[in-house]
């Protein structure tokens, strides 16, 4: 088993390298730094000096991958590739356009993101699984039918609608919580409760339906028939037998997103003014701050790969066939 984990870890390295090369190609080869400068400074009033200055400020004035002018190994290190891409592995993301250190910024914004994403995720998971079990318990009845119809209707509504409608109803009409904002400490609760509820609400439709499908697939298996033939009540069949087995496919979809919770949610954070990584990313996109976007891509992949690893590990906990072989 240890060998298995180590092998999965080793397998992650080429993937990270691949992501790194891909982002490098996307950000520096598809468009040259000159193009980016021209675009950011405005196509019309651009002078070669301004471009040069823009590039120098950001460290984009080096050669891409090989610095023929340098010497003693600096041919490789004094390049955009090394300073902008390779150094990411060391956690050095450089500076944003506003001059702040990206790594520090990310560190300080992770917590607010997590404060929203984690409760949304756990609550959403819990609620959706409960609903799905309810529908499955009453399968092939009117409750099941209308439940599924409700799920399909709910997943056909844009996520933006949930946010806008929720803010309007809860904050503007009912005046229950502030419409947006954030503060640290215990005070955060009143700012967090609405985005969390909206997040849970918006996700219920799709996930309930998905879990229901998984449960129904499990429930048609032979071992469920065996369990019933023992005389077990339906409740025990569902909770002890079906749920345990359904956990395995559910884990595939669920565990992988846990680390990416750090990244926050773009929409929620920007609508509710939460100073997390999601709103950081959106601001960077709107301001066309390439350095920040590049860093977020890299961090996102790292977290996703950690998620893949966790998924593999969670299998070994949930499935004895994986654990013992």
């Amino acid at each position: 088993m240890l060998a298995y984990v180590i092998r999965r870890l080793l397998y992650a390295i080429p993937i990270l390298v691949g992501v790194n090369l891909f982002t490098f190609a996307l950000f520096f080869v598809v468009n040259t730094p000159d193009d980016m400068a021209r675009m950011q400074l405005g196509v019309k009033r651009v002078t070669p000096e301004a471009i040069q200055k823009w590039k120098a400020e950001r460290g984009y004035d080096k050669p891409l991958v090989w610095n023929a002018a340098a010497s003693d190994g600096a041919q490789l290190t004094e390049t955009i590739f090394f300073s902008k891409s390779v150094r990411m592995f060391a956690g050095d993301f450089g500076r944003a356009d506003d001059g702040r250190d990206i790594a520090r910024e990310i560190g300080s914004r992770m917590l607010p993101s997590l404060a929203i994403a984690l409760p949304t995720f756990t609550l959403g998971l819990f609620v959706a699984i409960c609903f799905a079990l309810l529908l499955v318990f009453f399968r092939a009845t009117a409750l099941d039918f209308y439940g599924v119809v409700l799920c399909v209707a709910m997943m056909s509504i844009s996520g933006l609608f949930y946010i806008i409608g929720g803010q309007w109803l809860v904050s503007k009409v009912w005046h229950l919580v502030p419409i947006s904002g954030y503060s640290g400490g215990l005070d955060a609760g009143k700012f967090l409760i609405l985005p969390v509820i909206i997040g849970v609400f918006g996700g219920i439709g799709a996930s309930t339906r998905w879990y229901r499908t998984i449960f129904l697939e499990e429930i048609s298996r032979d071992y469920v028939r065996t369990a019933r033939a023992k005389g077990l009540p339906e409740r025990v069949v569902l909770f002890r037998h079906v749920l345990r087995n359904a956990l395995i496919p559910i884990l595939t979809g669920v565990v992988v997103v846990i680390p990416t919770l750090f990244m926050g949610s773009l929409l929620t954070e920007s609508f509710f003014g939460i100073p997390g990584l999601g709103s950081y990313t959106i601001d960077a996109i709107n301001a066309q701050d390439f350095a920040v976007v590049r860093s977020m891509v890299f961090i996102g992949s790292v977290l996703y790969i950690i998620g893949l690893l966790l998924t593999d590990l969670s299998y070994t906990l949930a499935d004895p066939r994986v654990r013992l072989q």
Binding site: F22, V30, N31, M155, S158, I164, I282, V297
Partner: protein
Amino acid sequence: MSIQPMLLWSDILLFVLIASIVGLMLWARRQEALRAAWGRVARNGVAMAAATVLAAFVLVGLLDSLHYRALLPAQPGATARYAVEVNSALDALLADLRLRAEKTYSAPLATHLFAREALENSTQREFPRLQFGGMHLGANLAGHEFDLALRLSRGVAGGLAVWLLLAAAVCRWRGMEFAALLRIGSGGNALAAVSVTLLAILLLLGVAISVGGGYHVFGTDKVGQDVLYLSLKSIRTGLLIGTLTTLVMLPLAVLLGILAGYVGGWVDDLIQYLYTTLSSIPGVLLIAAAVLMMQVVIDTHPDWFATSAERADARLLALCLILGMTSWTGVARLLRGETLKLRELEFVQAAQAFGVGRLAIMRRHILPNLMHIVLISLVMDFSGLVLAEAVLSYVGVGVDPTTISFGTMINTARMELAREPMVWWSLLAAFSFMFALVLAANLFADAVRDAFDPRSSA
């Protein structure tokens, strides 16, 4: 000729898509198993009702894809010149709505603007009259409600009349009772579901035409454009993103998925590495990065595009391409897994025992048995993509700001949420249209999946 027909790239692709769907349907008619599956879809009332709604949306989208440039008034001695503005058949049909722009916001069915303004000949700030909404009433605003009711009933009557004509024709042709066309629910049939849905659509259409002739049914937006017109124009964008995206990624996903699954070995390793790497970048970020880069390319090459419509179109296509490139990994993974199973089946081994080549086996034995998965993923992805467009446009990495779409509508409208009283109608119109489209697509997709996927026939 007073117009110059024009084909945007997205039009060409859309028509290619329609042609290939028709072609696929003809092919499927010859395939027993597929025909049986479509038969199951056709007997499903909910699916057929959803298909009717989708067909209405597609019709609007297709009309909006017949583009032309109008001939400018001839100048003596000069060769014929065409307008820079590119219009579509839909624009021509909706010329009334398109051209009757007000100054700024007005509520649905209103006769006055939404905000007070200082009028020219008055010192007070008043709600100015609309230029077009309720214009026919003249100064006599007392008749407003009556006029609305009249128009409403006229619209309903018109819609009903058209439906009755159609229904009579169908009854005559199929030799069935008229009542059968209304018998929905248990004991009813799929044709009834279609006819009732059609009735609803015709009634809405009748009302929209009748009321929309004198008022702005959904009000107007910040620059006074009719919101109904904007909503209808958004349909094409939604449809394009929902379909072209899957279309551009399918060939790649199918090819790589089958290759990885059937050939195995280092080819499999390489393809798996490729899609694991791509899918490890969070979707929104990858799209955002790629769209930012695409913007740079488009902005630094203004000379590539003759008209702004072409530029917006190129951006739309590029967005489809980017969305497709980021989402092919899921389908490829699915197809690889299915190919691995098929490869072990005995009919593949029987072909190997005859020495049939790898390519022929993949073409004859693997690919046809994967088509249902391809189809299912096509219809299942559609609704997600339509919803994604709105979010991406909100984030600022969606379609060109000049392209009318649900996303751009919502994006411009949400600025006004803080206003008192609220400007709610453009949001509501965009969300309603999107909801109708996505719900229909979801219901239809469910039926298709149930009919084609043997496992889900629970």
